[in-house]
């Protein structure tokens, strides 16, 4: 099992009645709430937590991209990644999101990821995402073009990394006469590609076909993940190969303490801060953002009120749906082994700081995980020897 420390960089000290006075943590949560003095501390503490993943023995760290919200203070994951490149020497740095449709031209992403890859000595994982629904409000980018922009930007970036330039790219959204990114990435043919998905079959088929890694978008009921990863593995089989464990990742809030009771006691308030204050608005789905087929599926699966984290009302709900893995080292390891082996994933992406959790507590949590959980999990689920399937190059026989 590969272990990654994922950080959202949340805004921690919101007013206690924030969720009563604000409907959304996204797009419209007023930036008068932002206190730069506090954020100075947050950023530096969070970067320290990420950098510490290396001495603790993690395989990598993850940063991500969101805009205009109190959920995460990381509109530019590439900036944070560049700091981590200089603070670490060994671990992978997964930039799980550049939201491609937000970059114009998207060759900007090709350039920045290539810079990071070259400087880090080939330690970058390139996550490429469509961006959350709220991003389309925050950037006023047309959500009805989200899918076609993503597909085109992705092809442009992959070709910019792998094909000799200069060449012309003539797409529906992007028309570039001279594509010739300089520098190109150090990893050959390009950094590993991670694509997140929330269960749309189109995305799974795309990831399976191109032999990338599929990362389930978090905060769903564990059964929802299990269904989705089973579907993804089927998609790989249809492509004529068996999914590699490292083509799949499970992202979860994780908290470890000496005993189950102590873990819950220390963790629970931060979970509710996260769920009540930071999540509302995350699920905004502007018109055209997903295909009607996917939208209908998501709409129906959310209807029971128990499939997504926002339906959690009691600790029992949290435990039942496994919206966070919390407990003693034995309990946490046991749950990870149980779910990861059923899902078949070879990457565990943990959120060790969640919501309002203070930094010292988050660091201790990550330390306990590294010392007492990782070895247990690795014993049960050793890394897969066979190599990852090679990504399919562009251009291809795509219709």
């Amino acid at each position: 099992m590969k272990h990654f420390l994922f950080h959202l960089m949340p805004y921690r000290e919101l007013p206690h009645d924030f969720e009563k006075t604000h409907e959304s943590a996204w797009v419209w949560a007023p930036n008068s709430l932002f206190d730069p003095e506090k954020a100075h501390g947050y950023y530096n503490e969070y970067i320290d937590q990420l950098a510490e993943a290396e001495p603790l023995g993690f395989d990598g760290v993850c940063v991500n991209e969101h805009h205009q919200n109190v959920y995460g203070l990381m509109p530019s994951p590439n900036l944070i990644a560049s700091m981590l490149v200089m603070r670490t020497r060994r671990i992978k740095i997964a930039v799980v999101g550049n939201a491609l449709p937000l970059y114009n031209p998207p060759t900007r992403v090709a350039e920045e990821i290539a810079m990071l890859d070259v400087i880090s000595g080939g330690r970058i994982i390139s996550g490429q995402v469509i961006g959350g629904g709220p991003e389309y409000f925050s950037f006023s980018i047309n959500p009805a073009e989200a899918r076609t922009r993503f597909a085109e930007a992705h092809e442009l970036i992959m070709r910019a990394w792998t094909q000799p330039g200069p060449f012309e790219f003539y797409g529906e959204h992007y028309k570039l006469r001279y594509v010739n990114v300089f520098p190109r990435p150090l990893q050959k043919p390009h950094p590993p590609i991670w694509i997140p998905g929330a269960g749309s079959l189109e995305t799974m088929e795309f990831v399976a076909k191109r032999r990338y890694a599929y990362m389930g978008i978090p905060y769903f009921h564990i059964d929802f993940f299990k269904r989705n990863y089973a579907l993804f593995r089927e998609c790989c089989e249809k492509e004529g190969y068996q999914a590699h464990p490292e083509q799949m990742g499970l992202l979860m809030p994780i908290y470890v303490a000496e005993t189950d009771a102590k873990a819950r006691r220390e963790f629970e308030e931060h979970f509710w801060y996260f769920k009540n204050k930071l999540i509302p608005g995350l699920t905004l789905s502007p018109p055209g953002y997903t295909s009607v087929k996917s939208a209908l599926r998501v709409f129906k699966s959310l209807k029971d009120g128990k499939t997504f984290i926002n339906g959690c009302e009691s600790w029992e709900d949290v435990e039942k749906g496994c919206f966070a893995i919390v407990g003693s080292p034995e309990t946490v390891a046991e749950k990870i082994v149980e779910h990861a082996s059923e899902i078949g994933c070879g990457n565990m992406l943990g959120l060790f700081q969640l919501g309002s959790m203070p930094s010292a507590q988050a660091r201790e949590n990550a330390r306990r995980y590294a010392e007492a959980v990782m070895p247990r999990v690795n014993k049960e689920l050793p890394n897969t020897i066979r190599p990852m399937p090679a990504a399919m190059p562009f251009p291809d026989e795509r219709k």
């Binding site: 006023s140 980018i141 047309n142 009805a144 502007p286 018109p287 055209g288 209908l296």
Partner: protein, 264 residues
């Protein structure tokens, strides 16, 4: 009143259309609701006229939204539609989004439109009174949509309005609603439901024009009607008192009297 549903072919796209009545043709361009369905105000407009209400690409079963990049493509679609119908020139009633399309048609191809009714039409911009961001409405609160679309959220038409969040809807209806919003977003997300170039060419309109507004339109405020009436040569503004954006639903009597009086 009898009506028939038919499929016509425009630029290779199958287009859904509903028709009824006899007489000179009258073209009705629907709003973002996608009302190419036989609502009472359409039935009333078909008295003494041959009413045609096509669904825009992306609405109901009309195809081709993939090829519509922006409002200009939509206008070109309707230029071809007029050719398919064999109309040298026609009278048009456009509601809201449909009013925007009608205004563009009349400005870009003045000889093709004889009489023009711009009802609660978006399409231009008044900086002091921005058009409401209908895309940001939270579907968990249907009463907000009612308050936006109607002056009186308790009027009978407003109470008929449903949102996917609050009631159980059949799949087909859900799909129609999602498609309607997506198609509207495709042409109207940004700039929000208007074309910054339109105001500068409205002087080209030669059609006899009626701008018809609810006095308390909270989506496209009355100032838009005033601006349209000012920019279009010879246009007249008629205001329905105590009425909101969806005037033909909120006050059908006054709305129909104005439209029919104008069309003659």
């Amino acid at each position: 009143m009898q009506n028939t549903t038919t499929t016509i072919h425009v630029l290779g796209r199958k287009i859904h259309e509903i028709r009824g009545g006899e007489g000179r043709p009258l073209l009705y361009l629907h709003s973002a609701m996608g009302e190419a369905i036989w609502l009472p105000h359409l039935s009333a407009l078909a008295e003494g006229r041959e009413l045609h209400a096509p669904a825009h690409p992306g609405f109901l079963s009309s195809e081709g939204i993939e090829q519509i990049r922006d409002i200009e493509d939509m206008v070109d679609h309707y230029y071809s539609y007029l050719d398919v119908m064999g109309w040298e020139s026609v009278d048009v009633v456009g509601l809201s989004l449909g009013g925007w399309i009608a205004a563009e048609l009349a400005a870009r191809f003045p000889h093709r439109i004889s009489k023009l009714v711009l009802a609660s039409a978006c399409g231009i911009w008044v900086r002091e009174k921005p058009i409401a961001d209908i895309f940001a409405i939270d579907t968990r609160f249907p009463e907000r949509l009612r308050n936006l679309l109607f002056q009186d959220a308790n009027c009978p038409a407003a109470q008929l309005m449903v949102m996917p969040g609050n009631v159980e809807l059949p799949d087909e209806m859900l799909i129609n609603i999602m498609n309607a919003f997506a198609a509207t977003a495709k042409i109207g997300w940004n700039p929000l439901l208007h074309d910054p170039r339109l105001e500068g060419i409205l002087h080209r309109v030669t059609a006899q024009t009626l701008c018809l507004w609810g006095a308390n339109d909270r989506v496209v405020p009355l100032e838009y009607g005033e601006k349209y009436a000012k920019r279009i040569p010879g246009a007249r503004l008629e205001v329905i008192p105590e009425c909101g954006h969806l005037a033909p639903l909120e006050n059908p009597v006054a709305w129909l009297a104005a439209v029919k009086g104008f069309l003659g």
